[in-house]
Amino acid sequence: MRELDTSGFSCPEPVIMTKKALKDSPEGLVVIVDNRASKENVTRYATALGYKVDTEEGKGSWKLRILK
């Protein structure tokens, strides 16, 4: 699955990056975020679009599996 690394970007950029990436791969993708604000914003955005979001907490970052 396509992976999108948003580390170092702060909101709203990770959400916009996710929005664009989902346009290209609507079946889903993995988004890496490195701050809680972005984790919550990307999750909320994907959920609002009807995706399921699996969250895996890493060291100082989160792996969000966004799936239909």
Binding site: S7, G8, S10, P12, I16, N35
Partner: protein, 354 residues
């Protein structure tokens, strides 16, 4: 979960609104219980960075907000020293945001507080603010970015909170170092302990909820998300009710506390603040919170705002209450908006070419 988040934002908004009204009752200037731009400006004056005699005071609210955010983010493990995303550009944008705020006479937070007091000049400013955010969102959608931030050392991350503590200690221990207004808004302030406590509480709640005055409108434009706007609405309602209860609600354009009715300049001032806030990733309040969480990029933006406030008063760019901005201020603001648009265009175009 969404309801939860909105609920927390609503509670935070009510706390800020109540704090603003209470601080005003206890001595802060009218419709200015909590203004980030005004208070950074007063603090700049107290530190001799400008010498406008009516706006000099070390505002404990500012110190409290940074430290409240710092303390809570450390406790919750969210303190992350990071920086290096175009710091100098952020300084310049912060500078221009302050200029816009001082032409309007308030940051986005005070704009809402003024709205809640019945000041219709703030309604014109809100239209400008929304327009600025709208333009910022167009750039964001086209790929605007100030670049990736990198991890920084803990030492770098704690520098801003520690400078804030040092300022507060000096303020308490050697007040003779600072300038304090004897008349005007700078002379009006709530007791230090109450102001500090209000700042700490607001800082902690705003850190937790990521409340941002610009973010709420931005998220509606960008992703049709109405979460962050809840805080904005709650502040307005709390201040409105507070003002009605304390009898200080007064609807109209004229004779509003520390305000002016030059509509075009109220509009353009907040246009600059809206656009600049989107470029920085948050309003002036949010920059203080992020600085407390270890973002040195936001700390640099705050320093830019302080420098902007100093220049605004040293070169007569800030508006005067009642009469509005002078020629210097008008020219400087227009140049500032052009610079913001130029930075936004280049930062968008460059990203596209990558």
């Amino acid at each position: 979960m969404v309801v939860n988040e909105k609920g927390k934002l609503a509670i935070t908004g009510v706390i800020i609104g109540v704090a603003a009204v209470v601080l005003t009752v206890l001595g802060n200037p009218g419709n200015m219980g909590f203004c980030i731009a005004c208070f950074l400006r007063d603090t700049a004056g107290a530190m001799h960075l400008h010498t406008a005699p009516i706006v000099e005071y070390v505002r404990p609210e500012i110190i409290g907000i940074i430290l409240g955010s710092f303390a809570l983010s450390v406790l919750r493990g969210d303190f992350r020293p990071r920086g290096g995303s175009s710091p100098l550009l952020r300084f310049i944008i912060g500078f221009i945001v302050m200029l816009g705020a001082l032409v309007f006479l308030g940051c986005p937070l005070r704009m809402v507080i003024r709205l809640g007091g019945g000041d219709l000049n703030a309604l014109i400013a809100l239209v400008g603010f929304i327009a600025g955010i709208g333009v910022g969102c167009v750039f964001l959608n086209k790929g605007f970015s100030l670049g990736r931030a990198e991890k920084q050392s803990g030492l770098e991350g704690v520098s801003m909170p520690f400078m804030t503590i040092l300022l507060f200690v000096l303020f308490l221990a050697v007040p003779s170092l600072f300038l304090f207004s004897e008349t005007g808004p700078g002379s009006m302030h709530a007791p230090i302990a109450v102001a500090l406590l209000a700042g700490l509480v607001v800082g902690a709640f705003a850190e937790r909820t990521r409340l941002c005055m610009a973010g709420g409108i931005r998220d509606i434009f960008l992703i049709r998300d109405f979460t962050l706007i809840t805080g904005f609405a709650a502040i307005f309602i709390a201040v409105l009710l507070g003002n009605i209860i304390t009898g200080s609600f007064k609807l109209g354009f004229s004779d509003q506390p520390i305000a002016h009715s030059m509509h075009i300049w109220n509009f353009l001032g907040m246009f600059a603040v809206g656009l600049g806030s989107v470029m920085l990733g948050g309003c002036p309040l949010r920059q203080l919170i992020l600085a407390g969480e270890g973002s040195t990029d936001s700390a640099v933006a705050v320093l830019g705002m302080i420098a902007g406030a100093a220049f605004a008063h040293n070169f007569s760019l800030a508006a005067s209450a009642g009469t509005g901005p002078g020629l210097n201020g008008k020219i400087a603001l227009v140049i500032g908006i052009v610079i913001l648009l130029a930075i936004a265009s280049v930062a968008t175009f460059r990203r596209r070419g990558e």
